[in-house]
C-alpha cells in the first residue's frame, strides 16, 4: 500500500518538476518564470520527502524557493522590464539551436542511464520506501552534519571564502561610490 502510494506521488512530483521547469524556461514574463521555477523546487523537495530525506527537502525549499527565487523576484521587480524590452531578445535560430542541443543532451542522458541499466531497477526498490531509510532519516541531520564538518571541512571552509569573494565583488560592481 505505502509503496504504491509513494510511486504515485513519485510520478506526480516528477511531472511537476519536468512540467514546471519546461514552462519556466518558455515564459517571456520574468516573474512568471521565477514562479514556475520555485514550483519546480517544491517538486524536487517532494521527491526528497519520498526518499525520506526530510532535511534536504526542507532546505531545498528554504534556500531555493524561499531565498534565492525571492531575491530574483526582488531584482526583477526593481528592473521592471516592459514588453518591448523583452521582444528585442527574440531570435528564432538561437531558440531552435538551443532546443536541438537540449534534446540532444536529453538523448545522451537517457541513453547513458539506459545503458547503465538503471531503468531495469524497479522504482520501488531504488527510490521509494527502501528498507532502513526511514530509520536512517531519524538521525539524518547528524548524518549530513558530521561528514560536512569532518571529512568535508576543507571544501566547507573554501566555500566561506568563495562567499566572501562574491560579497566583495558584488559590492564592488553594484555600488556607485566606494568610500
Amino acid at each position: 500500500m505505502e509503496k504504491q502510494v509513494s510511486t504515485v506521488f513519485f510520478w506526480i512530483f516528477a511531472a511537476l518538476i519536468a512540467g514546471s521547469g519546461l514552462i519556466a524556461i518558455t515564459r517571456r514574463n520574468a516573474v512568471a518564470t521565477a514562479m514556475w521555477a520555485s514550483l519546480c523546487f517544491v517538486g524536487i523537495a517532494g521527491e526528497f520527502i519520498l526518499m525520506h530525506a526530510y532535511f534536504l527537502a526542507v532546505v531545498e525549499v528554504l534556500v531555493y524557493a524561499g531565498a534565492i527565487m525571492v531575491l530574483f523576484l526582488f531584482v526583477i521587480m526593481l528592473i521592471n522590464l516592459r514588453e518591448e524590452d523583452l521582444k528585442a531578445t527574440e531570435g528564432a535560430q538561437l531558440h531552435i539551436a538551443g532546443a536541438l542541443f537540449s534534446l540532444g543532451f536529453l538523448g545522451a542522458l537517457v541513453w547513458t542511464v539506459r545503458r547503465a541499466g538503471l531503468f531495469d531497477i524497479p522504482l520501488n526498490a531504488k527510490y521509494v520506501g527502501a528498507e532502513g531509510t526511514a530509520a536512517a532519516a531519524a538521525g539524518e541531520t547528524a548524518q549530513l552534519a558530521v561528514p560536512l564538518f569532518s571529512d568535508y571541512v576543507l571544501p566547507f571552509e573554501i566555500v566561506s571564502f568563495l562567499l566572501l569573494s562574491a560579497i566583495v565583488g558584488s559590492v564592488l560592481i553594484t555600488k556607485r561610490r566606494l568610500s
Binding site: 516573474v31 526530510y54 525549499v61 525571492v70 526582488f74 521587480m77
Partner: protein
C-alpha cells in the same frame, strides 16, 4: 496506516487549520481593536454581542458581501493567486507546532527547519501581490516586503541556532521536552530570545516594522488594490502569522505546553491542561504584539535595514559563537 488514523488526522487538521486558527485570528482582530481603544481611552467595538465579541463575524459578513473589484491594470493570474499564497504558508507553518503534550499535526524531525522553509514561502504572497497590482504604492510595498523579510529571516534563523545547540534537537516536540526537564530556554538564552522576538515582528510585518504597508507613505502598501475577500485573506494571513510566531516563541523559549512547578497528570486531562497552558502562553505573546503595535512608532526604512544587518545579524552570530563555546566547554 489505518483508515481510521487517517480520518483522525484529517479531523485534527480541519480543527486546527479551519477552526482554531481562523477563530483565534478573528478574536485577535477584536482584541486588537478593543485593546487599542482602551490604550487610547476609547471603548472600541462593543455593540455586536457581549462586549462586542461577535464583531469579527459582522466584519466577515461585510467582507463577503462587498464587491470584489479586480482593477483593469493588474496581472490577473498572479493578482488572484497572491492572497492564497500569503495565507497557505501561514496555515502550513503551524502544522509542526506541538500545541499540547505529544500532540502536533505533523511529526517531523526537522520541525524547526520546516517552519522556516514554509514561512520563507510566505513572502511570495506579499511580494507578488504588490507586483501584480501594477501600482506604485503596491510595488513599493512589495519590494519593501521582500527586502525586509529576507533580511530578517537571517537574524530569525540564526537566533534559533543557539536553541538547537543547547538542546541538540531540531524536533520541536523534543525541544519542549528538553525544556520540561531542564528549565525554559529563555533562562539560558535570553539575548537570543530578544533577537528572535524582534525579528519575528519584522517577519510578520507588524509595527514597529510594518514598512510594507506603511499607511502614511504607501496608502496601504502591497494590498492597496485589493478588496473584499482577497483583502480579507491578506488580513487573515497576517494574523495567523502572528499566531504562529507567538506559538514558536512559546515553543522554543518558554517551554511550550510545559507548566512549571506542577506535574501534569497522565492521560487526557494532562493533555488538555498542557494545551491550555500552551494557549495561555501564546495568548500572552499575542497580547504583546498588540501592546507593541499601539505603543511604538514605525521604524524608518533605512533604520530597519541597519537594525537587521548591522545589529541583529552580528549579534546573533556572536550569540551563536558564545553558545557553541559554552556547550563545548560543558560537554567535557
Amino acid at each position: 496506516m489505518l483508515f481510521v488514523d487517517i480520518l483522525w488526522k484529517l479531523l485534527e487538521i480541519v480543527l486546527v487549520a479551519a477552526v482554531a486558527l481562523p477563530t483565534t485570528a478573528a478574536l485577535l482582530v477584536w482584541a486588537e481593536r478593543r485593546v487599542s481603544a482602551f490604550m487610547q481611552d476609547r471603548l472600541g467595538p462593543n455593540r455586536v454581542g457581549p462586549a462586542g465579541l461577535l464583531q469579527p463575524i459582522a466584519d466577515l459578513l461585510k467582507f463577503i458581501f462587498k464587491e470584489d473589484v479586480v482593477p483593469g491594470h493588474v496581472n490577473k493570474a498572479i493578482y488572484i493567486l497572491a492572497p492564497a499564497l500569503s495565507l497557505v504558508p501561514a496555515l502550513l507553518a503551524f502544522a509542526v507546532v506541538p500545541y499540547a503534550r505529544d500532540m502536533a499535526i505533523l511529526d517531523v524531525n526537522v520541525g524547526i527547519l520546516y517552519v522556516f522553509s514554509v514561512s520563507s514561502i510566505a513572502v511570495y504572497g506579499i511580494t507578488l501581490g504588490g507586483w501584480a497590482s501594477n501600482s506604485k504604492y503596491s510595488l513599493l510595498g512589495g519590494v519593501r516586503a521582500s527586502a525586509q523579510m529576507i533580511s530578517y529571516e537571517l537574524a530569525l534563523g540564526l537566533s534559533v541556532v543557539p536553541v538547537l545547540l543547547v538542546t541538540g534537537e531540531t524536533h520541536l516536540g523534543r525541544i519542549v521536552e528538553w525544556q520540561a526537564a531542564n528549565g525554559w530556554l529563555v533562562l539560558y538564552l535570553f539575548p537570543a530570545w530578544i533577537i528572535f522576538l524582534v525579528s519575528s515582528y519584522a517577519e510578520t510585518n507588524r509595527l514597529p516594522f510594518d514598512c510594507p504597508e506603511a499607511e502614511t507613505e504607501l496608502v496601504a502598501g502591497y494590498h492597496t488594490e485589493y478588496s473584499s475577500m482577497k483583502f480579507a485573506l491578506f488580513f487573515l494571513a497576517e494574523y495567523i502569522h502572528m499566531i504562529t510566531a507567538s506559538a514558536l516563541t512559546v515553543t522554543l523559549f518558554f517551554g511550550g505546553w510545559h507548566v512549571p512547578f506542577f506535574t501534569l497528570p497522565e492521560g487526557g486531562w494532562g493533555t488538555t491542561l498542557s494545551c491550555l497552558a500552551f494557549c495561555a502562553k501564546t495568548g500572552f505573546f499575542l497580547f504583546l504584539f498588540i501592546w507593541v503595535r499601539w505603543t511604538l512608532p514605525r521604524f524608518r526604512y533605512d533604520q530597519l535595514m541597519n537594525l537587521g544587518w548591522k545589529i541583529l545579524l552580528p549579534a546573533s552570530l556572536g550569540i551563536i559563537m558564545l553558545t557553541a563555546g559554552g556547550v563545548a566547554l560543558l560537554a567535557d
